[in-house]
């Protein structure tokens, strides 16, 4: 059991940075290859969810707090709709990016960039929020997700205890 857990932890530590890097690639290279904000957001969320599954949700919450994911979630939609509103103020129609920069192509490029970023933020925020909500519930009851993956669960308990002592 112990060996399996060590394996899981080591492998997770090795693959989480490439996952995040890949999500950034998918996010910002979506104009040229397959991908875009939605896929990038999901992949980014997967990195944090993997972290939460293996190291415990409470530690994942320290890496990225639940409040932060909610703010990211809302900011994404705001960024998307805000891009549309800005293009309205600059004299175009809602979500007409051509007016955002001097040339039409430049404006479109900037607009797509911002919009895809908004989608990515919303999707990542939403997925992590949903995961935290489910896992928080389970944690409160008797943490079967964590038990399933991480039967001993020393670290999360320790952290939780410390947090309780701190106040």
């Amino acid at each position: 059991m112990m060996i399996e857990k060590t394996l899981l932890r080591v492998i997770a530590k090795v693959i989480i940075p490439p996952i995040i890097l890949f999500s950034l690639y998918v996010q910002f290279h979506g104009d040229f290859g397959p991908g875009g904000g939605f896929q990038a957001g999901v992949i980014l969320a997967t990195a944090f969810i993997l972290y939460g599954l293996i190291f415990g949700v409470s530690i994942a919450r320290e890496a990225i707090p639940a409040g932060a994911t909610r703010i990211i979630l809302s900011l994404g939609v705001l960024l998307y709709a805000g891009t549309g509103v800005v293009s309205m103020f600059l004299g175009g129609e809602f979500l007409d990016y051509s007016v955002l920069a001097k040339t039409q192509l430049g404006g479109q490029h900037l607009g797509i960039f911002l919009v895809e970023l908004g989608v990515g933020m919303t999707v990542a925020g939403a997925m992590i929020t949903i995961f935290y909500t489910f896992a928080g519930h389970v944690n409160g009851a008797s943490c079967s997700i964590e038990r399933r993956v991480n039967p001993n669960g020393h670290a999360p308990n320790f952290i939780e205890r410390r947090r309780n002592v701190d106040g």
Binding site: I49, I112, V119, I130, R148
Partner: protein
């Protein structure tokens, strides 16, 4: 893919069902890939095989592992399913063949996207320029749907117990005003979010 679908129906252990669902999604992603729909395959692999598996496991942890076995299946439901399936299969006979260049979908706006999107929008990936620029409203709607789903989950089960904003707000409100009104707004919230979830 078909085999895994049949297996899914037969299984009673929901843990295995969730895993098999991931396998099914992966097959679907491979199928999209074969049909050159790379973006869709990408999404299917990430969402269907990745995230939704984790979320369904989370749901399982909140409920039970094994499906309740119902009484014997009634013949009426079997007949209904057969009829519906038959009608659906009959409907596919009207669809154009895969890759048919006279199909309606290739006659409408697709040509313009393919010919003009380079000059009008720019990115070499036409899928991106369609999603983000030509169909910007739709994508805004999709983003709002994802947002609403997260808000719905938070509203339904996020506030019962644990850390975070909704609960603390809840607790604070309970402390401040002693509470004949409290039950009513909560029920309303839950109602609204259930509706939203159904829509999304």
């Amino acid at each position: 893919m078909t085999a895994s679908a049949f297996w899914l129906v037969r299984l009673r252990n929901l843990f295995a069902v969730v895993m098999l669902f991931g396998v099914f999604s992966l097959f679907a992603a491979a199928l999209y890939l074969v049909m050159d729909a790379v973006d869709v395959a990408f999404t299917e692999a990430a969402v269907g095989a990745g995230i939704s598996t984790v979320l369904m496991l989370g749901t399982l942890a909140l409920t039970h592992d094994t499906e309740k076995v119902h009484k014997k299946p009634s013949p009426i439901s079997l007949i209904l399913v057969l009829i519906t399936g038959g009608v659906l299969v009959y409907g596919t006979f009207d669809m154009p063949r895969y890759g048919d260049k006279n199909a309606p979908i290739h006659q409408h706006v697709a040509n313009r996207y393919i010919e003009k999107s380079g000059q009008e929008v720019g990115p070499p990936n036409i899928v991106t320029s369609i999603l983000a620029s030509y169909r910007g409203y739709d994508t805004l709607g999709e983003t709002a749907v994802v947002f609403t789903a997260a808000i719905g989950v938070l509203a339904i089960i996020g506030r019962v117990k644990g850390q975070g904003m909704p609960t603390s707000m809840h607790a604070r409100r309970r402390n401040e005003e002693d509470e004949p009104e409290e039950a009513a707004p909560d029920a309303q919230d839950a109602q609204i979010s259930t509706d939203q979830e159904t829509k999304s």
